[in-house]
């Protein structure tokens, strides 16, 4: 039997992913053991795991270096990889939004927006090109995106909004919602066919817990 390889997102999705896998009868002892090993396994079920930066998970899965991945929808739409997105795991929920100063509320269509700051340049570019039919300058930032409109770097931002508290405290509001975000399970297109039975069983075992 061949190994089925999981790529799990390092960070806030890790623990929830592990408990789903355990619920599906997969032995994650080695995974939870804080080992320095990069690839861990459940020898009985012939399953291997590794943790990767969320943005890299879709890449590993698309190339077939991992068969299955668990990753946020935000990363999936930003990376735009050719994958099967088989399950909405329902956790780590938030929204991908366009946000900006309160003055712009309800006036997005009236003013022309020139600069957009974001951690998600592809998401922002696609949204403005196709949905708003505007060519905008995308400014890629790595964190604290809310700062950009406050210091005049951009008019609006595209970012994840969970509770909206940071926006509110800084006088910003959500101007439009681009997509609902949550953790997803993705599968490589070839693996889904070559290991159909085993992968379908894993999907079903995880689906039952949702």
């Amino acid at each position: 039997m061949r190994y089925i390889t999981f790529a799990l997102s390092k960070g806030r999705l890790t623990d929830l992913s592990i408990s789903l896998l355990e619920g599906a009868g997969i032995d994650c002892t080695e995974l939870k053991s804080n080992s320095r090993k990069l690839i861990l396994s459940d020898e009985k079920n012939k399953i291997r795991f590794f943790l990767a930066k969320p943005a890299d998970v879709p890449v590993y899965v698309e190339y077939g270096a991992a068969d299955i991945g668990i990753v946020g929808k935000d990363t999936l739409i930003e990376e735009g990889r050719d994958l099967y997105e088989v399950l909405d795991l329902g956790f780590a929920k938030c929204k991908m939004c366009v946000a900006g100063p309160k003055e712009l509320e309800g006036k997005m269509d009236l003013v022309s927006i020139n600069r957009v700051a974001t951690k998600y340049p592809e998401v922002a570019r696609t949204y403005f090109r196709h949905k708003r039919r505007e060519s905008v300058e995308i400014i890629k930032l790595s964190g604290s995106i809310e700062l950009a409109p406050l210091v005049g770097l951009s008019e609006v931002i595209v970012d994840l909004v969970e509770t909206g508290r940071t926006l509110k405290e800084n006088g910003l509001v959500v101007l439009d919602t681009i997509a609902d975000i949550s953790a997803r399970m993705v599968v490589n297109r070839v693996s889904m066919k070559m290991e159909n039975q085993r992968i379908t069983r894993i999907i079903e075992d995880i689906r039952k817990q949702l």
Binding site: R2, V61, N196
Partner: protein, 402 residues
């Protein structure tokens, strides 16, 4: 100034000795399989007009093509695919040939698509096209040819997934969804995203039982049994015809003893504006991408001025090489050859001996460096010769197996 003269551009590679020879062996096995099945090889030019591939309802996106100009300022491309040139030729130079037409090709194609996982900007494709016939027999023939081609490469664990785009198109016709909504559903089905499909269905209140079948589409893949889950009266004429077509094709493949390689995926809905009937893809272990893809494209040849049904497939040779390597399949070793050196006065004898070996299909190399016995033995060992022969002045031969 930065100098690029020692590098190759991104996405292209030098293929050296061993892998080059493996690639040629692979190509000749494939060529032989094509030929024995009655497919005649053609060699379209590497350069074509942009208009052949691009244009208003272009088949291949503008961004993915290598473009340049000819001396009259017309836009040219390095061919991004070989099916389109075959269609062009079938509609023009071969328009008076007796149908059906069986063509094949092995050649390099070029695309700016993303690199990685075995994908390069220059890659070799081998393919067959069967033109001028639309029947389940023709569809099955091409799938069978695809299976035979993969087997010829030495890959034995693989799977051909068959779909029928008419099934999806028919269901969408029945559903009354708009073009944009259909595209939305298509994307979700292509990603096997059940939740996404469900959201669209709910938003547009598509009625049962049609809704149930559309919702099932992402799950309708696997063995032949899935066909039994579909109730005919619910799905409309076009989709029913598609299912009948797929059943006939599967029956023919069963008669040819090929069922073990074949599975179904009714949710295979990529490139809908190109394909018109049966579509299929080939998968194997070790590579994350399909090694083969094909299908029926009855409207392509008409773009070049002749109505002509067609179906075919192409196999990615580089992907196959990667799969063979990952699956640790042994390539046949070429016989290593004989190194022939000689004593000073035996030059003529050595030359004659060497030519005689070559005439008998044995790889042989004459010592042109006059290294002397010991040095040339070292050289022959380093170059991997299997035998070392020294021709003496008196005409005798000393042979050493290395």
């Amino acid at each position: 100034m930065r100098r690029w003269n020692i590098y190759t551009p991104e996405g292209v590679q030098d293929i050296l000795f061993e892998s080059c020879s493996q690639k040629r062996v692979l190509e000749s096995k494939i060529r032989k399989a094509f030929k024995l099945n009655g497919y005649k090889e053609i060699e379209p030019p590497t350069i074509e007009f942009y208009d052949t591939f691009g244009g208003e309802r272009g088949l291949i996106s503008q961004e993915s093509m290598y473009k340049f100009c000819d001396s009259k300022g017309r836009l040219l491309v390095l061919r991004p695919d070989l099916t389109v040139p075959v269609a062009r030729i079938a509609a023009t130079k071969l328009k008076d040939e007796v149908l059906p037409l069986k063509c094949c090709y092995i050649g390099n194609t070029f695309s700016f698509d993303e690199l990685g996982g075995g994908r390069q900007h220059e890659f070799t494709q081998a393919g067959c096209e069967l033109l001028g016939i639309n029947s389940p027999e023709a569809d099955a023939e091409v799938v069978a040819m695809a299976i035979e081609t993969i087997r010829a490469t030495g890959i034995d664990e693989f799977q051909i997934d068959i779909g029928q785009v008419g099934f999806f198109k028919g269901l969408m016709e029945e559903s009354g969804l708009s073009e944009d909504e259909i595209e939305e559903v298509r994307e979700f089905i292509d990603q096997k995203n059940l939740v996404g499909v469900e959201q669209v269905m709910d938003r547009h209140q598509v009625k049962n039982p049609l809704k149930r079948i559309i919702l099932d589409l992402p799950k309708l893949f696997g063995s032949k049994d899935i066909l039994q889950e579909i109730k005919y009266e619910d799905i409309g004429k076009v989709a029913t015809k598609a299912i009948e077509n797929i059943k006939e094709v599967l029956d023919i493949l069963e008669d040819r003893n090929l069922s073990q390689y074949v599975s179904l995926d009714l949710g295979m809905v990529q490139s809908l504006n190109y394909y018109t009937g049966i579509v299929f893809r080939g998968y194997t272990y070790g590579v994350g991408f399909p090694i083969l893809s094909g299908g029926r494209y009855d409207k392509l040849v008409a773009k070049f001025g002749r109505d002509c049904e067609a179906t075919g497939f192409s196999l990615g040779i580089n992907m196959v090489m990667m799969a063979l390597e990952r699956q640790k399949k042994q390539f046949e070793q070429e016989s290593a050859g004989v190194f022939v050196t000689y004593e000073k006065n035996a030059r003529k004898l050595a030359g004659d001996y060497c030519r005689q070996l070559i005439a008998n299909d044995c790889i042989a190399e004459l010592d042109i460096m006059q290294l002397g016995m010991e040095e040339s033995k070292k050289y022959a060992t380093a170059k991997g010769f299997s035998k070392f022969v020294c021709i003496k002045n008196d005409g005798s031969r000393e042979e050493i197996t290395l």
